[in-house]
């Protein structure tokens, strides 16, 4: 199925330059694992980085720099490189990495109404969690302090905006009050990242203002 709801360029560029809080980067990494459209855009920003490296000044390197690097290579030569693996199940590799590569390690905690969550990361900027919502269940009305990004991994949910399926990302901010409801077919599993509510005057809402009221 083709992804319909993508991630805005502003956020993709912040991901490429490494300026996005980790919690949101998880969603970008998962989304572009499934969405070639946004992957191409991130790689276009990376190309800009390639131009930057080509135009970069030349710092003096140590006299034995090359030899030192060859030594590093010799030391690491036997280490095994993780090759480009593809997740065959619902959890993309960037999520699995938070659970030591195995979904058996996910520690779900009930938050009421049959809804379960598992925290992926919680920093001072932002936090990200997995949510599992029973078929047809509704999340309580909520508005957002700062940015919220939600990506569907399994099943679907719908709210006042649209229907969201695997790979789709919904963005919310202070202006969005919504009541997402899981699809009837199966549990809806998604990743949700939110800015820490205590971060005052944070940058993401400002960044998003031009396009958030879709």
């Amino acid at each position: 199925m083709k992804t319909k709801h993508h991630i805005p360029s502003e956020i993709l560029s912040a991901y490429s330059t490494g300026s996005l809080p980790e919690a949101f980067s998880i969603i970008v990494a998962c989304h572009i694992s499934l969405c070639d459209h946004c992957r191409a855009e991130v790689e276009a920003f990376d190309t800009l980085g390639g131009v930057l490296i080509d135009n970069e000044e030349r710092a003096n390197i140590d006299l034995n720099s090359f030899e030192q690097t060859m030594k590093l290579i010799d030391k690491q030569n036997n280490s095994c490189l993780a090759s480009g693996k593809k997740s065959s199940d619902i959890y993309p590799t960037p999520v699995k990495n938070y659970f030591g590569g195995s979904i058996e390690n996910i520690k779900w905690k009930s938050v009421g109404g049959g809804i379960k969550q598992a925290i992926l990361v919680n920093t001072k900027d932002a936090s990200a969690r997995l949510l599992s919502i029973p078929p047809g269940a509704q999340l309580p009305d909520h508005s957002h302090k700062g940015l919220e990004m939600t990506m569907v991994l399994q099943g679907s949910f719908s709210d006042e905006i649209d229907n969201f399926y695997r790979g789709d990302v919904e963005l919310g901010d202070d202006n969005l009050t919504h009541t997402p409801k899981a699809g009837m077919d199966e549990h809806c599993i998604c990743i949700a990242a939110t800015e820490a509510p205590l971060v005052f005057n944070s940058w993401l809402p400002k960044l998003l203002q031009p396009f958030i009221r879709i």
Partner: protein, 218 residues
């Protein structure tokens, strides 16, 4: 480029690498744009040799060009000279190790090396955890795909030209964004840059790759 290659060859005059001297001769004959293209393809060729033959001469050639630039990038990102040197060496070692994962149909060598340097920068200097997406499966280059590789190189040159024609304040913006030195609201300005063609080219090669994989799986 010519100047650097010349320095390289003065320094390493005893190097018997036929490919390199052939390239140098050719460089002199080519226009500036073609020269750049030639050198870009040359880096891809170096990476191929590193991955296939563990060719230390090819690596040295690549190192001479990229190591000082990567180090400068790391210093400007806030690293001390010592830290930048160390991180640069680690990044270049990663270039050697991951050379087999470089796909010239998807990115130029500069872009690919940038992503390695950027990850090192985030990890060692800016201390930012940035989860990576799943890799696209990689396939051995076929005749038809070699054309894609050339197109991708050309896109990089066109982008470099476009960037060089931007007003200075926009070029500063790009630098600051990648050095991690930009106020967050300013990063959105990057989206105004002329990246449309690059993006659609990358998209085409991903699509072709997916199609090839689909065929293979049937």
């Amino acid at each position: 480029m010519i100047r650097e290659n010349t320095i390289f060859y003065t320094d390493r005059a005893k190097s018997t690498d036929v490919l390199m001297s052939h390239m140098r001769k050719e460089n002199k004959l080519l226009s500036e744009k073609n020269m750049n293209k030639n050198s870009l393809n040359n880096w891809s060729e170096c990476l191929k040799r590193i991955s296939k033959d563990k060719d230390a001469i090819a690596f040295r050639h690549l190192f001479e060009y990229f190591a000082p630039r990567v180090k400068s990038f790391l210093i400007k990102s806030g690293g001390s000279v010592t830290q930048a040197e160390e991180s640069m060496q680690e990044a270049m070692a990663t270039v050697w190790q991951k050379a087999s994962m470089f796909d010239p149909q998807k990115a130029s060598a500069s872009t690919w090396i940038f992503t390695i340097a950027r990850n090192k920068q985030l990890d060692a200097i800016r201390k930012i955890n940035r989860p990576e997406p799943e890799e696209l499966p990689w396939m051995e280059t076929e005749q038809s795909d070699a054309r894609d590789a050339i197109i991708i190189q050309e896109e990089q040159i066109n982008l470099a030209l476009a960037v060089s024609k931007l007003p200075k304040k926009n070029r500063d913006l790009i630098e600051k964004a990648f050095y991690g030195d930009l106020s967050h609201s300013e990063i959105s300005k990057l989206t105004k840059l002329p990246l449309g063609t690059v993006k659609s080219r990358i998209r085409l090669s991903i699509d072709r790759l997916r199609k090839e994989l689909g065929k293979k799986l049937q």
